[in-house]
Amino acid sequence: MDLYELTTEPIDINAVARRIVPAECGATVTLDGYARRFTREKDGTTRETEYLVYEAYEPMALKEMAKLIEAARLKFEISNVGIVHRLGRLEIGETSVVISVAAPHRKAAFAACEWLIKELKHTVPIWKKEVYADGEAWAEGESA
């Protein structure tokens, strides 16, 4: 069983991995993104973030997450995928996103998980606002 969810509650990584493991799978690989205190700017300076705010185009984000899972299943030999993305205000150290992939062989689980986070950052309509002591800014997406 796959799962894809948006939530404003703290994410339990353990539960995400566990909910997608079928009896025949020996391993899951989980990518766990955190709200980071320090961000390296393009000019080399470091900026300190006080908290983050994530916002989504929710129905489209869920559709895009479902498409990603479908595409990953065609591309890699995997059993199940779980993607949970946090929305709203996140304190530093809280989990913003979890992607867990269960597969019969761990190689496919690693490859699929790495592919999924890269694609999620390019296609799923979610935006991150970084709030600093002296202002705030919407993060620029990763270049493709």
Binding site: G33, A56, Y57, K63, V97, P125, W127, W138, G141
Partner: protein, 79 residues
Amino acid sequence: MQITTLFFGATADAAGTREAKIAINDGTTVRELIEKLRTDYTGLATHKLLFALNEEYAETDTIIKDGDEVAIFTAVSGG
């Protein structure tokens, strides 16, 4: 005809709104709508925009139909 336009994140800040009902002519394409929005909301002018039609990424030459929902946003930054 009337459509709904949604703004998120930086485009919502730039437009000063999250949602607008907009009257457009029959045969208007997504590209034409975006040009109109850049004129209506000058804060959008500096942004490279992405868009979705009815919750799916769409080609810019797609013709918008009555009641469609068009979302305008900047490069996504989730994760």
